[in-house]
Amino acid sequence: MFRKIFMLIITGFVLSGFAGQEIIMSGSTTVLPIAQKTAEVFMSKHPDIKITVRGGGSGVGIASLIDKTCDIADSSRPIKDKEIQTAAGKGVNPKANVIAVDGIAVVVHPSNPLDGLTSQQVKDIYTGKISNWSELGGSNTKIVVVSRDSASGTFEAFGELALHGEKVRPDALMQASNQAVATTVAQTPGAICYVGLGYVNSSLKLLSIDGIIPSKQTVLKKQYKYARPLFMYTDGEPKGIIKSYIDFVTGKEGQKIVEEVGFIGLH
């Protein structure tokens, strides 16, 4: 009898060691689609593991990692020195795991004669200093500025990489999705917009920036300006189920998801 009870207790302990394991992820809204989709697929393959995904922004994710209230911090920017130092003070060792690259393409209507812009011209168009294509050597057509709305990670990334923190001109047409942006530009001759590199199609004309045509190759070689790595930060080298998940994201299947949601994969 005692032997049976003993065996039951041991079995319970062993099972509880595997059952109900949870990963909590928090952070960047840009990384959120990757995190949600990969978590969904990963959980379907590992039903004993639960992954909770929260947004909030890169800063929130990193702060949660430092406070040990999440296991993975999703971030669309590198961790800051101050955050590293705060983490060190709390015994946390933030480890950068690059999971994808966010490349942003500047696109125009296919009828636009221009092949490229400088990064300064892009900034001037989006901040309102340039309003007509003729100022850039194009036809005498008003520039219709199209932008992603402020809730999108692409908007945030473009503001940082192309506008260096300056605000988008108030008369810009704000669109809620990459698809809506693409459709608007494809139908408006004077339009200009930016989209995730994965959303460029034949109905849009891709512009070079400072002479560099955006492509997976120029982004990965760090030649193209409007690109940034996306991170999943962990406390030290990932271990256990966290390692399994990160390996999944950076593996073939995960990277396929990365490209499906519009980012540049690492394979």
């Binding site: 961790i79 020195d81 590293i84 130092q85 480890k95 950068a96 795991n97 990965l220 070689k221 991170f231």
Partner: protein
């Protein structure tokens, strides 16, 4: 591929300037098809981030130290002195001359605790606990010398123009005669500044309470209160400084002088009783006026030589005191601060027996204390920035109230500050 990442990371951590070499190496690996461009991107970015992290963590510790260092000013000075004292008793009886080598070393710091609070600390040499001197005579077969606590204080500045200091502090009172420059009073003081003329001048009001002795069996302990009103600034573009002070000693009269200042008594004040039982005969309520003015500056071989006149007049206004006047007048030409600059000074002073308390004035003139008069001539040359070679000659006489000897004193000093 993990081994590759570790190697690249280590290279970057050793020195970020390896970054371009590491990039070239990774490019080659991509060219040869060993890794993909995506893997190369991941490896390089993660390695760079790791290297930056290591740097930030290392900087954290450095910043912690440098933050304290940034708010702390260390100060020190050292002086080597040769001194010859030619002495003569006033009754003509024999007294030997004296020759000695002395050192003085002081070191300390002021640190800013926050925007309103500062703290300071200084240690110094000294033959004894004599408050008027930090000189240490070289004697007794190379035995080790004492280091004393010379200053230890906290200053609170509730507003920029008001400071309140407590502890053993830098003497807040300005004087040319009655305080030794080595003396650091103990107690609590405040200074309220009233800047004028767009900050070029400043009126100030200064006050303080300073315990003199704490007796374990008596609540009526001697203390001093002092007040000073002064101005420092310019009058018609000429440097000018003046102050009037009042020092009121409580409880000195009838106290044992040896108990009040064990290492600085029987140096000129009128005492009654003998030896260590001798007691102060009078009270000390001292009025003092100090002034200095720089009316001229001469251009000598492309060096500006300021000519400063200075003076002091003090009087002990306590009842019944006869030898109660002290005064000094003199001038200084030049200023030995930068390399090859020099200064010459002369003053005459008279300090009657009970003009001030004997533990207050300079310890060199007439070998310290009161009841003396005489001349001081000095020349100082800056051998480099922050170091000077100086010679001082004092011709002093006792005034006869006590058995003070006449003394001619020669001092040759080499001083550095850092």
């Amino acid at each position: 591929m993990r081994w590759l990442k570790v190697v690249l990371m280590m290279l970057l951590m050793v020195n970020l300037s390896f970054a371009s070499e590491v990039e070239r190496l990774v490019e080659k690996l991509v060219e040869k098809g060993i890794i993909t461009e995506g893997e190369a991107y991941k490896i390089l970015t993660e390695a760079e981030e790791e290297a930056k992290k290591q740097e930030a963590v290392a900087r954290k510790d450095t910043d912690k130290i440098s933050g304290w260092i940034k708010n702390t000013k260390f100060k020190g000075d050292a002086r080597l002195r040769y001194e010859y004292i030619g002495r003569e008793n006033q009754d003509g009886s024999y007294i030997a001359d004296r020759e000695r080598w002395r050192i003085r070393f002081r070191w300390g710091f002021d640190t800013k605790v926050n925007d309103q609070i500062e703290a300071g600390f200084r240690i110094a040499t000294g033959d004894s606990q004599d408050p008027t001197s930090a000189n240490q005579t070289l004697t007794q077969a190379f035995n080790d010398k004492y280091i004393w606590l010379d200053k230890a204080y906290i200053t609170y500045k509730p507003v920029p123009t008001l400071s309140i200091t407590g502890g053993k502090m830098t003497n807040p009172f300005y004087t040319n005669l009655i305080w030794s420059s080595d003396l650091n009073p103990e107690g609590v003081s405040f200074v309220k500044n009233f800047p004028v003329d767009e900050g070029k001048g400043n009126f100030y009001l200064l006050g303080g309470y300073f315990p003199i002795l704490e007796r374990s069996n008596d609540i009526e302990d001697p203390y001093m209160t002092g007040f000073q009103i002064g101005y420092a600034g310019k009058i018609q573009e000429k440097k000018f400084k003046a102050a009037i002070a009042y020092y009121d000693y409580y409880g000195l009269k009838d106290s044992k002088a040896s108990e009040i200042s064990p290492s600085c008594y029987n140096k000129g004040n009128t005492l009654y009783g003998a030896g260590t039982n001798a007691r102060y005969k009078y009270d000390y309520d001292i009025l003092d006026l100090s002034v200095e003015f720089t009316p001229f500056e001469f251009n000598y071989r492309d060096t500006m030589l300021p000519l400063t006149f200075y003076g002091d007049y003090g009087k002990n206004i306590a009842a019944g005191v006869k030898e109660n006047i002290g005064y000094l007048y003199g001038f200084q030409l030049g200023s030995a601060k930068k390399q090859k600059s020099w200064q010459f000074n002369y003053d005459y002073r008279r300090l009657e027996a009970d003009a001030v308390v004997e533990f207050m004035p300079d310890d060199s003139f007439a070998q310290g204390g009161t009841d003396c008069k005489g001349h001081t001539l000095g020349f100082r040359y800056a051998t480099s920035d922050n170091s000077t070679l100086g010679i001082t000659y004092m011709i002093t006489e006792g005034l006869g109230n006590t058995k003070k000897v006449d003394a001619d004193i020669l001092q040759i000093d080499y001083s550095v500050s850092f």
